[in-house]
Amino acid sequence: MPQPQLADSISNLDRTPVLEARGLTRRFGGLIAVNNVSFSVNEGEIFGLIGPNGAGKTTLFNLVTGLIHPSNGQMLYQGDEISKLRPHQIAKKGIARTFQNIRLFADLSALENVMIAQHIHTKSGVFTGVLGLPPAPREEQKTRSRAFELLELVGLSDRADEKASNFPYGDQRRLEIARALALEPSVLLLDEPAAGMNPNEKQQLSDFIRQIRQQFNLTILLIEHHVPLVMGLCDRIAVLNFGQLIAIGNPADVKSDQAVIEAYLGTD
């Protein structure tokens, strides 16, 4: 399989990473959920983030997307600091995410969920919208058909008008991905997208993640507990334990790392 790794490792030195964490730290009272973490993610990578429960993975995602702000350190996107921005500003820059504990707009239809996420790519205001003046009607039409395409992509277009909360768990996770893609991001953060899926679905999801990286030129950060999926899918993997980065590298190296085996993978 052709991998972008080689190209990356050659040009790493002269290219700004898409994302870079510099000494990122986040405290919650006495707890240090993320402790002095530094790493960078290159363009086009599928970058895995693993670690035991409570290791700080979701907290790290929250720091990247502005849901919380770091106690110390910085987060950079394409060389610019984003640690002080608010979530919608970061979304506008091109970073989209899904949530570990699904956060769809539960009472709204699948289609509406995806339409809402095209907010930043549309601009009609109250009066043009209400009166149906240009560019509102065309924009509305485009938003709808784009939402439909994205639902098609994740295989949910036949139930576009159904309420999001009526979908089974796995479909809700797919719907969250469609919603995130509606932002047309360059970086996509997936927080345990395979949780609650059976092995077959997990394999499909893995193929799907590869497909959307290709199709939308994405850089993908992936939190996932299912080790085979992570190892098979990711170009590089970072391992967190008690908020600290204990290993980072390609899957084979991480897999054989002694600290990682002790903290997470276990000896078997």
């Binding site: 707009f105 919208g129 149906g132």
Partner: protein, 309 residues
């Protein structure tokens, strides 16, 4: 017929004004914000019209409709500006804290109105000129305005801005993560409600002929809240119907109280216990009908059963 009109003309117009006040609470609620500021903006809009028509324009009756429309416009603009000024800081508060802050805002305006000269102090402003011969003729203004505001909110729910409101109501954090600026859209929803309340106030000042500090009170906050909470908070038809029904309710209770043979205490209660009854309705209603009586599901079921026929 003339009797009917003179008895109920006043009530009909009041009901429509009530429906619009319900909508003015519904607008911020679309973005998930429970604001009780409407009576404050209503009072302010009324003072704008009362002051302009008695102190600035000074024309002979009948008061020109064009000037009434101009007053509505000015009241809307002033309330809109104040809505932005008050809304941006107040909307940092959430849920019940926002509700309390907006009640405080209404109180501040009331105390100001009581103590300023321009508002006529405790006495208020009298003899606000009439554009019409009889109350029922106000329908010429309020009915189109109600239809316009209903059409506005109906459309709003289907466009980009309304979707942003609803996304914030559903999950503010998720909406934020999807690129929607919650501060901006909450302030916008709040301001639209403020504008509508102000415009309604401007008409009401003429309609009621006098305007004073009793117009925007805590009582009114509770009553408007009933419009929305019992009428329905998930579709604009809820507050419209709620506003009409609950504006008429005190009149109905008064009519019942007048039936002969009723014990004196009960008749008294029906006449004066308005707020107690509204309070009870809120408690009971929100317990058993958390989304109010008119819900989107109810409307969907109706339209579906009609389609099936």
């Amino acid at each position: 017929m003339n009797d009917f009109v003179s008895t109920y003309g006043f009530l009909f117009v009041s009901m429509i004004l009530g429906a619009m006040l319900g909508l003015s609470l519904y607008l911020p609620l679309m973005a998930g914000q429970l604001s009780l500021a409407s009576p404050g903006f209503y009072a302010l809009g009324g003072y704008v019209a009362a002051i302009l028509s008695t102190k600035v324009f000074q024309v002979k009756e009948p008061f020109p409709i064009a000037l009434l429309l101009l007053e509505m416009l000015i009241a809307g603009i002033i309330c809109g500006l104040l809505g932005v000024i008050v809304g941006v800081p107040a909307l940092r508060l959430r849920g019940i804290y926002l509700a309390i802050a907006t009640i405080a805002f209404v109180e501040i305006l009331r105390v100001l109105a009581l103590n300023l000269d321009v508002t006529g102090g405790a006495v208020g402003i009298f003899g606000i000129p009439q554009p019409f011969q009889s109350p029922i003729e106000y329908l010429w203004i309020v009915l189109p305005l109600l239809l316009i505001s209903m059409a506005f909110v109906y459309r709003l729910e289907k466009i980009r801005v309304g979707r942003a409101f609803i996304a914030i109501r559903e999950d503010e954090l998720a909406a934020d993560s999807m690129g929607i600026n919650p501060t901006y859209y909450k302030a916008l929803a709040f301001t639209l409600g403020a504008i509508l309340a102000g415009v309604v106030g401007a008409i009401s000042a003429h309609f009621l002929n006098t305007w004073n500090a009793r117009q925007g009170t805590f009582d009114a906050s509770i009553i408007y809240l009933t419009f929305v909470l019992i009428g329905g908070s998930r579709t604009f038809l809820g507050p419209v119907l709620g506003g009409m029904v609950f504006t008429a309710l005190p009149e109905i209770l008064r009519a019942i109280a007048d039936t002969p043979g009723l014990p004196v205490w009960l008749a008294q209660f029906l006449r004066d216990g308005r707020l107690i009854i509204f309070g009870l309705l809120i408690v009971i209603g929100t317990r058993f009908f958390p989304q109010g009586l008119v819900t989107p599901q109810l409307l969907k079921r109706r339209s579906r059963s009609q389609a099936n026929r």
